[in-house]
Symmetry: C2
Subunit: 461 residues, 2 copies
């Protein structure tokens, strides 16, 4: 679990703000769900491994006393609440609870932390931020296209341009598994193994499949089906698999959908990044159609993923609501951006540090600070009165852009000393005109060096 000190946090706020802006430009609306969910809503949605990674909230008071009186005390008897594990299951629950209050095509984004009692690793934490977009209520491939396009656009807005969006389809995987002669009941097992092709290599996947009593022959077939020449050519991959599965009528829908999806994405920000990848499987059980995953040469592992899950909401509800979503791994994006120096130096100091000589009453300082703030400056008042040199050194140490110095004799003539700290420029000004000058100094810096004027945070190189 991590504390975020101001220097780190402004970077995180900057990235979250950018992502949010892009999601909103696609018409996604914000949603937030509670940290604590009923375990009954969470269990059974993430596989056995997921269930074990849930943080559970201990019963309290009477409920705990009753649980402790029982003969058998178990994990189940001690808790009925758990911490949010992802943002998809809460969305499904929200759809079930409030669908009458929501637009028919509910496009929501959600940027909130989730908790997993996982072993920490690079870019893996026990509390981490997820950025999800989902579109519910339609089976149209436009929904798939929009979540892929928005995700690609979000990455680009952060300066991340080297990435590929691997796409495949769960239905196509099923067709391939059937064509390879793997029994239907082994589909889940086979998918989990295939999902690791990329990570552990073909030899190890073969071993795993054999362990799970899937034959060498079936393995040969599935590997043959999945490999296409030339690589990196989505259209060729689709043509090749369509020929190979010519006898399998049910494969046509998914192959045509993948082809249509590529076409839909062509003129969007996702276009150049899309790559049909017949080996992509995605671990989670609830996908029912197209699936996506973002990979980058700059990060081992995925930067995000998603897909269509037309059955999940129905698990909370009396009717099926189709849905498709994409989730970005915020912590991994932060790592990639740091590795590649994509953060401009974000300034965290105030516009002005207000200093004063010991003989100046503090009331004056606070009055002037109030006035400066009303005029749009961020002002910190130095709370004590050591020598001015010490106060100015502090101004430098906290990254203040300017300092304003109050002396008793100057106050009497209505004046104040202003100091531009990086330029080492200093001038006396009328107190009534000081804010205007300081704003000019501060703004000119922002204008020339910042990335964009509507950034959440001033950003200077």
């Amino acid at each position: 679990m991590r504390d975020f000190l101001p220097g780190d946090l402004v970077r995180r706020q900057f990235v979250a703000h950018r992502i949010r802006q892009i999601f909103e430009s696609y018409g996604f609306l914000p949603l937030e769900t509670p940290t604590i969910e009923n375990l009954s809503a969470l269990l059974g949605k993430y596989g056995d491994e997921g269930d074990q990674l849930l943080f559970r909230v201990l019963h309290r008071r009477d409920k705990l006393a009753r649980a402790l009186e029982k003969e058998e005390i178990t994990e189940q008897s001690l808790a009925e609440l758990g911490l949010r594990y992802d943002l998809t299951v809460p969305l499904a629950r929200v759809m079930a609870n409030y669908s009458h209050l929501l637009p028919r095509f509910f496009k929501r984004y959600q940027i909130q932390p989730v908790w997993r009692a996982d072993r920490p690793g690079k870019g893996r934490f026990r509390e981490f931020l997820q950025c999800d977009i989902d579109i519910t209520g339609t089976k149209s491939l436009i929904a798939e296209a929009e979540v892929c396009s928005a995700t690609a656009c979000a990455l680009q807005s952060l300066g991340i341009n080297k990435f590929s969006i691997h796409i495949n389809d769960r239905r196509l995987l099923r067709s391939m598994i059937m064509a390879a002669g793997i029994p239907a009941e082994m589909e889940g097992t086979a998918l989990i193994a295939i999902d690791k092709l990329d990570k552990i290599g073909e030899t190890n996947v073969r071993k795993e499949l054999l362990n799970r009593s899937i034959s060498h022959q079936a393995m040969d077939s599935i590997v043959e089906l999945m490999s296409s020449e030339p690589q990196h050519d989505s259209a060729a991959a689709l043509t090749s698999i369509q020929e190979k599965l010519a006898s399998q009528n049910d494969a046509n829908d998914s192959i045509n959908d993948l082809r249509d999806l590529c076409a839909l994405l062509e003129k969007t920000p996702a276009g150049p990044h899309v790559k049909v990848d017949l080996t992509l499987a995605r671990g989670l059980g609830y996908y029912t159609g197209p699936i996506f995953e973002i990979r980058s040469p700059d990060f081992s592992g995925s930067l995000g993923g998603g897909g269509r899950y037309d059955g999940l909401i129905g698990m909370f509800f009396d009717r099926e609501i189709p849905a498709v979503g994409f989730s970005l791994g915020f912590e991994r994006l932060m790592l990639v951006m740091e590795d590649q120096g994509l953060f401009s130096q974000l300034q965290i100091g105030p516009d002005v540090l207000l200093c004063r000589f010991a003989d100046v009453p503090a009331t004056h300082a606070l009055e002037i600070a109030t006035d400066f703030r009303r005029q749009g400056l961020s002002v910190e008042v130095f709370p004590e009165t050591p020598k001015i040199g010490k106060q100015l050194a502090y101004a430098d140490s906290i990254g203040a852009k300017t300092a304003a110095i109050l002396g008793q004799s100057e106050i009497e003539s209505g004046e104040i000393t202003l100091k531009h700290l990086s330029r080492k420029q200093q001038e006396k000004a009328k107190i009534s005109e000081a804010a205007k000058i300081l704003k000019m100094w501060v703004t000119s810096e922002t204008d020339t060096e910042a990335d964009s004027p509507d950034d959440a945070i001033d950003s200077t190189e």
Copy 2:
């Protein structure tokens, strides 16, 4: 525990954004701490009642198994982690862990949820947002003044102007308790009772004090000390108590501090709201100097509170670091704002809903959406192709400001139909010029009706 649907959430985001802007204008820097803290850091800081309201995280796997094997299984043996209960104790822990990385006068704001297993009530929830500012590292009263001023300014920026900031001092309370002849070891008990004067009235407080073996005579004294005439006159209250406690030398420091604090605040946003209130006690044990509380005639109970706590950080650390803070109750602010109609109607729909006739390829729609978004519009693409009337009705239902309609024949001539939904205005335009027109429509609305152009959210009446 609450879900926040888009309509509610944009209001919350709007309020949080405003508060953040004000805090930043005072030079406060953001901090975030993890949801899960060690129980050892939390227990014993909030009183017995607080300890009972903590959410505890159940041990997992081996640790749980070991705990369940023991002869005695207790709340303590089943959990060592708990959920954040406030933002002050985490700050104290952060100061202890990272003080070498932080400015000497660390001014931090923190806007994060906290969890209390409390009985829910009006403005009271089990997961709720707190907005805290604190200044560490100085005993200067300027720190008190700055947190009071920033808090008042934040309320005003939300349109809340009817409130008072009650101030008192823990040291002065101690002087009064001693002067009333209440034994030192009963100070805590007496404080808790006095804290309720406002809520349950003098008669009931007397009963409580008697129950705790504090005499009628002591009670008479303390009530007499605390009452001052005329009411609502801070200077008179201070003069009166100074006279009454003339024999009590140690009272002068706190009385003079309160007088100085009033003077410091006079020309700040807090000035007209400050009221010395000798009955203000504040429940928490860790305060050591001035204490504050915000009351409003529009809400029973406080909207926030704070004070100086020079000993708390030392509980985590090898040395004392003085500190003072103010915490705003976000949920209560939301209630007051809603009751008083202080929310302008925040718009959540997209700038443009892109509609198309069934014969227009979806690829065209996505290409045009991409272009519009690049030009700064938020665009939702209607994912299916029912009759245009239905698509336009949907545009109205989600609060879209405009609609753009693609027809096959128009596309061939490079045109598109644009519709201003509230004005019922419609015109044909070149596709290449459409974004410019739509932006004009959308911006003119924002300019004339929005509160301020740099708001996080478009706000239209």
